[in-house]
Each structure stands twice: as C-alpha cells, then as structure tokens.
C-alpha cells in the first residue's frame, strides 16, 4: 500500500567481464503518468553520468554493461533516476560483485559398491559455468556440492573445492539421491546460484539392492553387553589374581580400625583374654569398659553431707577393723547413688530387698541384672571377713613381687606384665601408702563365666566408699566361702593416699571403687595364657583373684575352689586371691 520507490536490488557480474544491475520499479508504474526510470552510471574518474547502454539483455528492470563498458577494478556508481529525482544510488567495483553462474553438465559414475551391496560410492563430475573463463585463469572458482536423499529435507554439504569432481561415499543403493552444486569466486564469500539437480538412482544401472532394505544399524546393545561382560571378567580376574600388587592397585584395601599393639589375628582366633590384656594397657579402653560395665557401681559421696565430713577418711574406715565390724557397707550413704545398698537398711530403696538381691543365685543371668548384682557385690563384705582381715594385714604385699613396672599410677600395666608374676607392682606403691596398709577393698566383677562364675577384674585403685572387703583367707575356698579378699587386691593395686582420702568418689571409669577391671585381671591371665579363672587349690598359695562361684545373699559371693597346682611364685599372693590367669594356667 505504501508507495515504494524504485530501488536497485542488486548489481552482479557473473564472470568479471560484464555486469548487470537490477532494480524494482515500485508502485509508481501504477500511476497514471508513467514515469521513465533511468539508470545512470559513472566511473570514478569521470564527471558525467551516463545512461545505461542496454536495458534489454538482462531482462526487465535491468541494465546490462558489456565488456567494453566494464572496467574491473574501477569504482562505479549507478543511480536510478527519472527526470527529476534520484531514487537510488549505489557504488561498487566490479571485482566485488562477482557471482558466478552455476556449474553445468552434472553427471555421476559408480566407483564401487560394498560387499553386501548395501552401500556404494559414486563420483560426481561437472563443468564450470560456461561464462567463466577459468581456462585462462581470469577467474578462479570453487564449488560446493550438496546432496540428500530424495525424501529428506536437509541437504548435506561437502567442503568447497577447486576441482570439478567430487566423490560421494557410502550412499545407500536402495535409496535415490539428489545432488546440486554452486560456485563462487575463490576469494569471495557469496555463492552463485545452484545448478540443476542431479538425480542419482542405483537401480537404474542395475545395482539397486532389493533385498537389503533393512538398514543395519550399529548394534549398540551388543557393544554395551560385551563391554559389561568384559569389564566383569576383568574385575573378577583381578580379584582372583595372585598378584597382590595388581590387586592392591585396583582394589586398595579399605583401612580397618586398628588398635595399636593389637594383632588382628588375636581377634580372629578368639583369644579375647590376650586382647583384653593388651587393651588393658590403653586407658581409653579401660574407661570405656568401665563406663559400659553394668557392674561398675560408682559411689557418689555427698560432699556436703556433714556426716560424711565428720567421718574419718573412708580409707580409715575401710581399713579399720572397727569399721569393718560395724559397717558392712561403707560409704553407702550416698543418697544420690542410684543404687541401693542392700547392706544398709537406711536406704529406702524398694526396688529390691537386700535379701532378695543378696540371695541372688549363681545364675549368671541374675548377675547380669543391673544394679541388683552390684549390690550383691556390695554385700560381699558381710561375710565374716574379720578373720580374714588380719590375714590381710599380715600378709605382706611386699612379699609379692614388687618388680613389675608401673606404667601408670593406677597400675594397670603391672597386670599386663608378662614377665612378672601376676601380682601387680602395686605392691611397691602400696608401701608408699601410709594410710592404706591394706589393699583395695573392691573387686569389680568383670565377667561371668558361662558356668555362672564371676570373674573379678583386677582393681586398680581402691576407692573409698563402700568397702567391699570380704574375708580373704587363703584357705577359704569352699563353696560357701566368700570371695577372696578385695583387700588383698587392693593391696595389690596402687592407691594413692590422697585419692583414697577423697570423700568424693566420682564416677570415673576405672577409678571407681577400686574395681578391678577385667583387663587387669585378664592381663595377667593373658600373660599366663590362661582363660577364665578357676579357683585355686586350697593347698597352694592363692592368687589375687578368683572367680565367684555363687553369690549367697546377703553374705556374699561364693568363690570357686578348685585344686590347682600352681607354681609358687605365681601364687605368692598375700590376699588370697588367685588371678584368673593363674587359675587358668592351673586349670586343665
């Protein structure tokens, strides 16, 4: 609808010898007064505008400049004008507007076909456009070939080339193809028009493959399957290979938790005692053990209790015979304690009656019940230890070996000393204890044998609290007897006096109550290569610990008594206990 001015659409030279300009007339021709449009041109070195020499040759609305009018590298300007006005103007030089004609004489020949006959190669040839004088080198052309299957929409291109032939590889003989070519001057960017389409049909020359219409696609699934199989085979072969290096390279061993000093083989072979002995050397383990052990009873003393303050040190209380006689359970006055002592009638705990707990049978299950069992232990001192006490006092802990090196103040290590006798080197330290001439009072029950015997752990230090001393007689190994003296054990365990004087028994792992850890016990056991303890023989000197056979409430525990031949030095125990390892050694 808008009035469109005449415009020069393009100027083009097909061979760099002539050129033509084309324009659009616009809407002006529809007007009543026909306007005459002229094309004027001017070379750069000229002054005047000249009119187009040929309006006809190139068609309507065109102007053709033949060779005589064409100077290739000379700038031209053309303008579209009528009498009065100039509609459009364009300036260029001929070498810039070269757009060659399409190639001619396209043909193809068969190069070869595949063995299956499904694919074929062809060679396409053509001639350069006739107008372009390539033979004299006036113009250099390059060609671009495009092809596609007949029913496709997108053309595939080949790279522009200078030669007038091109091969096409791997065409499907069952399909028909179309080919077209266009050319451009070598240093230009724009291509000329496309040539006529060349049709390629293999069936025409008798090569068409009728039976092979199926296309063999790349069997991806086969690739995947075989790849997975190969990978699996490789992995399996690596895993099974004897080459440790290769194995380690591909499958690096996952680091397993390792505790220093412990041979994983120990764990495998089930020698728990040895492991325990080793573990006893590690504080952390001991701490953990104690924290998890249900039988560890932590005595908490209320420091603000005036009664307590008025009391003499627990140690003294523990160690004094009066105390022993008067109190069955020491330090049971901790109201904060969650455990009631069956020995103290004051404690209003009703969870269990003292009688009940102290009547605990030797059933191992009962032992494993939480606090009740602990109270059983607490009741141990109810036995007539008085008699044993003197024996405690008389017993010379020094007589026991003193040699074992103490690795820590709590003397866990001595138990682990394999060289020495199982007696802890606590003895040496005990000598330092002024207040504590006797030994520890408590022994922790570390384990319960399947037979129902309780295995005491070597106590590391005696906590003042409830003195769980029992009569510790060397000879009392009958079933009805109480267990062996904690005092002896305590004697064997280094206790620092100031620690013992602490009224506050805090809940700390192994520190509590002078319980003996299983480790310390078993350390010695392990050193001797013994397993769970067995009661010592009555003839031989008793080791530090023995296992509890039964708990007779409320009096205490019954220790196992077996006749065990024991080397003297091992049973050089003052407190009448037999260490478990000794027992184990003794036991067949």
């Amino acid at each position: 609808d808008l009035l469109q001015q005449p415009q020069i659409s393009k100027c083009r030279s097909p061979e760099m010898e002539t050129f033509s300009c084309f324009w659009t007339a616009g809407n002006f021709y529809n007007l009543t007064v026909p306007r005459i449009i002229q094309l004027l041109y001017k070379k750069s070195n000229e002054e005047d505008w000249k009119e187009c020499p040929d309006y006809i040759t190139s068609g309507q609305n065109s102007c053709y400049f033949n060779a005589s009018y064409t100077s290739v590298w000379t700038p031209y300007c053309v303008q579209l004008a009528s009498k009065n006005e100039v509609y459009d103007k364009k300036c260029f030089s001929v070498d810039e507007i070269v757009l060659p004609d399409p190639p001619v004489h396209l043909n193809w020949t068969l190069l070869n076909t595949s063995q299956t006959g499904i694919h074929g190669d062809i060679q396409v040839r053509w001639d350069p456009p006739p107008t372009a004088d390539v033979r004299k080198g006036w113009i250099t052309l390059e060609y671009e070939l495009q092809y596609k299957e007949v029913n496709e929409t997108k053309w595939k291109e080949l790279k522009p080339r200078l030669s007038t032939m091109a091969p096409l590889y791997s065409l499907k003989t069952a399909r028909d193809y179309e080919i077209r070519i266009r050319s451009r001057q070598r240093t230009s960017e724009k291509f000329g028009e496309f040539s006529e389409i060349l049709y390629v049909s293999f069936s025409q020359i008798g090569i068409g493959c009728d039976h092979c219409t199926e296309e063999v696609e790349f069997p991806w699934y086969l690739v995947v399957v075989f790849g997975v199989c190969g990978l699996a085979v490789t992995v399996i072969s690596i895993m099974l290979s004897k080459q440790p290096r290769l194995k380690m390279l591909i499958f690096p061993p996952v680091p397993v938790p390792k505790i220093k000093g412990i041979d994983p083989d120990l764990l495998k072979k089930g020698k728990l005692d040895e492991v325990n002995s080793i573990l006893a050397c590690h504080d952390s383990y001991k701490t953990q053990l104690y924290s998890d052990d249900l039988w560890v009873e932590f005595i908490e003393l209320d420091i603000e209790d005036p009664d307590e303050k008025n009391r003499a040190s627990d140690t003294d209380r523990l160690l004094s015979e009066d105390h022993l006689k008067s109190h069955n359970c020491l330090g049971a006055k901790d109201d904060d304690s969650g455990r009631a002592s069956c020995c103290e009638p004051d404690i209003p705990e009703t969870d269990f009656s003292a009688s009940d707990t102290c009547d605990a049978t030797s059933d191992s299950d009962q032992f494993k019940k939480a606090t009740e069992k602990e109270e059983d232990l607490l009741c141990l001192d109810r036995q007539d230890n008085d008699e044993s006490l003197p024996s405690f006092a008389n017993t010379d802990p020094q007589g026991q070996h003193r040699n074992a090196p103490s690795e820590n103040s709590l003397l866990w290590a001595p138990f682990g000393d394999s060289i020495e006798s199982p007696h802890p080197s606590v003895h040496t330290q005990i000598s330092n204890q002024n207040s504590l001439t006797s030994t520890d009072f408590y022994a922790q029950v570390s384990d319960i044998t399947p037979a129902g015997r309780v295995v005491l752990s070597p106590g590391q230090k005696s906590k003042l609290g409830r003195a769980q001393r029992e009569g510790c007689t060397e000879q009392n190994f009958t079933v009805d007897n109480t267990y062996f003296c904690e005092a002896d054990v305590k004697k064997c365990i280094a206790v620092t006096s100031h620690e013992e004087n602490e009224p506050h028994v805090q809940e700390q792992g192994y520190n509590e109550d002078g319980y003996f850890t299983t480790e310390s016990l078993t350390t010695t056991v392990a050193n001797l290569g013994a397993s769970t303890a067995a009661p010592p023989s009555s003839e031989t000197p008793v080791a530090d610990y023995t296992s509890i056979h039964i708990v007779q409430s409320p009096q205490g525990l019954v220790l196992n008594a077996t006749a065990l031949p024991v080397p003297d030095k091992e049973f050089n125990v003052s407190c009448g206990y037999v260490s478990t390892d000794q027992l184990n050694k003794i036991m067949p």
Partner: protein, 229 residues
C-alpha cells in the same frame, strides 16, 4: 679425550641441524627447496609461479578479511561506504582493467607492472602495521594480519624479481613505482578522519592484491599451461 668428545658432539649437532634443515619446509606451501651449497640450484619457472600465485592469493585473502573486520568494527554507521569511490595511490599506474587488456599486454610488461605495484605497497604496508597498533582497541586479528601481509608482500616481491630475472630477456626496467604519501592521514588527530584514512587504505589494499593475484594467474596460465588451466 675431551676434545675428541667435544668434536664428536659438534659433528653430531651439525648433522642434526643439517638434517633438520633438509627436512623442514618453509613457505606457504611445501615446495622443494634447493639443497645447501648448490650453485646451480634453480627452481623451475613453474615452481616459481606456483609459489607466487599461492603468496598472492594468501595476501589477498588476508587483506580481504582485514578489510571486512575493520569495516565491521570501525566503519559501521560512519558512511564510509558512500565514500568508497576514492583513489588509491596506485591509480596512476596503468594496469589492465579487463580481460581483454590483460590478454593483450605482453607478459614482460605485465610482470613489470606487478613488480611496480608490489614495490609501491612496500612502504604503506610498513606504516600500516605500525599505525594499526595505535588504533583504539585494535583487535589482535587486524594487527596480526597487517604484520603478516607486510611480511608476505616482501617475499612475493623477492619471488617476482626472481621470475622477472628468468623471464626477462632484456634489461629489467624498474621505474614503475608510485610513492605513497598517505602517512599523515593515518596520523590525523580527528578520529573520524583517521579511521577513514585507514578504511581507504585497506580498501585499496584489497583491490590491488586482487589485481596482482589475477595478473599472476593469468600469467601462469599463459606461460606455464598455455592458456589451458
């Protein structure tokens, strides 16, 4: 002996260097080179023309691209195109303007013309390379192309002089030459004017390189292939 070892090493080094030199190929294409020390080493005329055509094509290709890049980057919207009808400093040289003239001119004259044009461009190319660097934010590609064109132009000049020496029967006339005085315009303070000067120069370079490329191809087809390329 240390000296013996040193001399052996030196011999080995020399051998390696010589073999390397023999194996490496230089130039735009892999054309045979004369072995060292040969006095009568002569490339055939065909090989000389091949090299020259390749060089001229390469130079035209670079200058065409450089012009397009410059046009895109600096000349848009400035109306330079309208002023494209300008004169190059080589316009004073009489060069064949169409195929007819190129066909008719004697090959020696044509060679001389080519030489003249190449010499006339020696100076502007040097300054173009240096002045392009001062252009505001000159892209690396334009800079590199300017330097490359200047270098290749020198080599083409040498090659043409060799060809002329072979082909020319008589004396070598060396008077075809146009001086270039466009340096001040490249250094104008006004950015528009300066950029137009560059545009002009690059346009002329593209045109003249196309001319030379064409002339050489015509000569090659005429002299080597007997008008049957």
């Amino acid at each position: 002996m240390s000296t013996k070892g040193a001399s052996l090493k030196g011999l080995l080094l020399v051998t390696l260097l010589v073999s390397h030199m023999l194996l490496t190929k230089e130039g735009v294409t892999s054309l045979p080179i004369c072995p060292n020390g040969s006095v009568n080493c002569q490339l055939s005329l065909e090989e000389l023309f091949d090299r020259a055509v390749k060089l001229s094509h390469y130079i035209h290709f670079l200058s065409s691209e450089m012009f397009n890049e410059f046009d895109e980057r600096y000349a848009q919207g400035r109306g330079f195109i309208a002023k494209a009808v300008n004169s190059c400093h080589t316009a004073s040289l009489t060069t064949p303007e169409d195929k007819e003239q190129a066909q008719q001119i004697h090959h020696e004259d044509l060679l001389n013309i080519i030489l003249g044009v190449l010499r006339s461009w020696n100076d502007p190319l040097i300054h173009l390379a240096s002045e392009v660097q001062r252009m505001k934010e000159a892209p690396e590609t334009i800079l590199w192309k300017a330097v490359e064109i200047e270098e290749q132009n020198k080599r083409l000049l040498e090659g043409m002089e060799k060809i002329v020496g072979r082909v020319q029967s008589g004396e070598v006339e060396n008077d075809i030459y146009t001086p270039w005085d466009g340096l001040p315009s490249l250094q104008l303070a006004d950015e528009d004017s300066r950029l137009f000067a560059f545009y002009n120069l690059l346009h002329c370079l593209r045109r003249d390189s196309h001319k030379i490329d064409n002339y050489l191809k015509v000569l090659k087809c005429r002299l080597i292939h007997d008008n049957n390329c």
